[in-house]
Amino acid sequence: MNKILLLTLILISQVSYAEKSHDSHSNDGSHDMSKDKKIDGPEYKLNTKRYTDFIEDLSDVQIAIVDVKGMVCDFCARGITKTFYKDDTVIKVDVDLETGKIFIAYLKSKKINFEDIKEKITKNGQTAITMKITKL
């Protein structure tokens, strides 16, 4: 059993190394701030039903759709929604676990700052990669 423990540790470290290599190629940390861009195309995959349900009762708002790494479980995302709801300019928040996206509906008057959003997500233990903004 000690051998299994040792093998498990070795494999975890190998898997994590492989993930790191993959990420360094696929995510360079840059973000796309383009506004009013089509958000359900292949270039920005999201769960369309989840998003449609999210915007159903919303109007006259702007929505930040943030792509996040490390949001693999419901528990992981709980802190994120609680953090954003502390912001008075935030009307609604939802999480799409399937594609790793957060939807944040802001008042239209709010100047959305990706660095601010990124910092909030980092403080929660996840990593924000990109953001797109759309207006309703």
């Binding site: 498990t8 898997v15 790191k20 490390g70 419901d74 939802d94 399937e98 790793g100 233990g125």
Partner: protein, 205 residues
């Protein structure tokens, strides 16, 4: 394909399965988050509260009723996230943890815990050295599990898990299945080992 090659592939697939996942009895909450935990098994019952000033560490207190040594005491506990790796489909964590007991300066523990999870799979490993007035021992634990379905945010999430535990007092590995359910800020874990129920409840607020 030779028998040896087939055996090697099966061993590799088994290990990949063991390694490939992640569930959620996380020892640290979100920044400013509070956690209450109740655990009960054949050896002890404990009630644990901890506070997380940041996602990196938590501090708390645990009230323990030790059925094996027949004593009650408090543990002042701390857990620190040494390393985390986030990817789009997984998260890996390494924690160190430790506690000092209220009943004796010779009663304490320290150890490490690692986990790796995706939405579908979970695995974790922990190694704890325990020092008590009567005996010192080591606890090792492996867990792996699979989510039979992928729930959305806010759904009830279910994990079918296997746990393998060994402590150096009896030197036997015990392996048993359990089920883990969580929704919102609550988690419930139930297992049965040698006719004893293992119960673990957690609430975050």
């Amino acid at each position: 394909m030779g028998i040896k090659k087939l055996r090697n592939i099966l061993v590799l697939l088994s290990l990949v399965f063991i390694i490939s996942a992640n569930v959620n009895a996380r020892p640290i909450s979100w920044p400013g988050g509070n956690t209450y935990m109740y655990k009960s098994d054949a050896i002890k019952t404990s009630k644990n509260y901890h506070y997380s000033p940041s996602y990196k560490y938590s501090v708390g207190v645990e009230f323990v009723n030790d059925k094996y040594f027949k004593e009650e005491y408090m543990n002042f506990r701390g857990t620190y996230l040494l390393d985390r790796k986030n990817t789009k489909k997984s998260q890996r964590n390494f924690y160190i943890t430790g506690a000092l007991s209220s009943n004796s300066s010779n009663n304490f523990f320290y150890g490490a815990h690692g986990d790796w999870e995706t939405r579908r799979l979970f695995t974790s490993i922990s190694y704890i050295n325990k020092y008590t007035k009567l005996k010192n021992y080591t606890e090792k634990e492996l867990q792996f599990g699979v989510a039979p379905y992928l729930g959305e945010y806010g759904d009830i999430h279910t994990w079918i898990m296997m746990k393998a535990k060994r402590n150096t007092m009896d030197n036997n590995w015990e392996t048993y299945p359990f089920i883990k359910l969580f929704t919102g800020d609550y988690m419930l874990e139930i297992g049965n080992k040698n006719s004893h129920w293992d119960l673990h409840f957690m609430a975050r607020f």
